[in-house]
């Protein structure tokens, strides 16, 4: 029993490192998948357990978006995730500007392009579809 415990403890850091490297690889591939006309700006690394309810999206962040700029928001989901990564963006008045998940059709988009005509600070909310467990990366790029 003790041996098993020690073995598990020894394996823990190795797993953490492998997980970190996996995230880095996912970010790199997500950045490159954005396309040749896209220039990387930021990434958000998201890891969530299953939500007790699906009322609100859980990973919240913000960033400035500038008028006369076309942005591309790419969502990449790790293979072992139970749900797909989705994104909703709201303006400072809390109005939805875009959502990568169409509630009417149930369709999930892996990327969304936004032509920004109003400069400001926007609220980005990420989650996995239906509040599922998962890990993934949201990459923000500029479209040239």
């Amino acid at each position: 029993m003790k041996k098993l415990f020690i073995t598990l403890l020894l394996l823990l850091p190795a797993c953490l490192i492998l997980h970190g490297q996996g995230t880095d690889q996912l970010v790199s591939s997500c950045v490159l998948d954005a396309g040749p006309n896209c220039k990387y700006l930021k990434d958000f690394r998201i890891q969530l357990s299953k939500a007790p309810s699906t009322v609100e999206m859980r990973y919240k962040t913000q960033m400035s978006l500038w008028k006369n700029t076309k942005y591309k928001f790419s969502m990449c989901t790790a293979e072992d995730s139970k749900g797909e990564l989705i994104l909703t963006i709201k303006n400072d008045a809390n109005q939805v500007v875009l959502s990568s998940f169409d509630q009417k059709t149930g369709k999930t988009y892996k990327s969304v392009e936004l032509t920004c005509n109003r400069s400001g600070i926007y609220k980005l909310s990420y989650d996995f579809k239906d509040g599922q467990q998962g890990s993934g990366v949201g990459v923000v790029s500029m479209v040239k």
């Binding site: 020894l10 040749p36 700006l41 700029t69 400069s119």
Partner: protein, 304 residues
Amino acid sequence: MKRRSFLLLILLLFASFSCRNSSNNNSGFLFPEADSIPVGEAEKLSTEAIEEIARNISSPVEIANLLQTLAVPFSPDYLASSIDANKQTTSFDKAFTLGILGADLGYLNMYEKTGSSIDILSSIRKLAEGIRVGQFFDFETIKRLSLNKSNLDSLLYLSIDSYTRIDKYLRDNDRGQLSALMIIGVWLEGQYLATQVITEYPDPVLRDRIGEQKIILNDLIMLASPYCDRDPEFGELCKFLQEIKEKYSEIRITYTLGEPVSREVDGALVVEQTETSVVEMTDEQLAGIIEITKNTRNKLIANN
């Protein structure tokens, strides 16, 4: 046996957590961070708040992208070429200059003048090592990508990601004042670039972008404010930021409402905003911003 297993476990744990950056680790004993600050002071702004402010600051890559869209040619005259990394003695100077050169690197990368960026990269490496964050800047890979122009995407990603990692590490280790300096340096150099270009290429889109910086100016000031009384250098920087804010005080940004329009193109969602922001800024106000930006940036660089 128990003791041996325990020792082995400790050694393995230590090795596992330290090997990620082993290539650049200092093997010698590290004295406590002279530039770290008491937790109480850092807590004036939460880590999350600082992180969010950092994200709100316009990236120099976005400014450079805008200049390219406007067909503004590249000019080395806008770069802070006079900076000598060897002469940056204090942590303040090193962190601030790291920000300035980061913006210049973004400008060079976007214009694919990557061969010319080697000198700046060397300076960035020295400065990063000077504040003990060199392990986050993958100099060799960035240099290789710079010399090989075919992989601009990876170069942009690695350059920005290195700065993001440095910024996060500084904040996580109670050195938030250095993170603030770096972010302010990046913003100021981007603002300098935009205001210098507009004197030669008076484009309305660029003019709006300069006026719109009012949106994030309070955030920048908030970022610096916990440290304004820390030392005379920081005090002066805070004074400069307040002066810039005053120049922006009469500029108005108004909004027109509208619903976003969505359509599907080749399986991807494309959204266009119909609400707009409008900047009301006179020529005199713009001239004031150009002047204060130039003076502030040049004074801070000269101090270094």
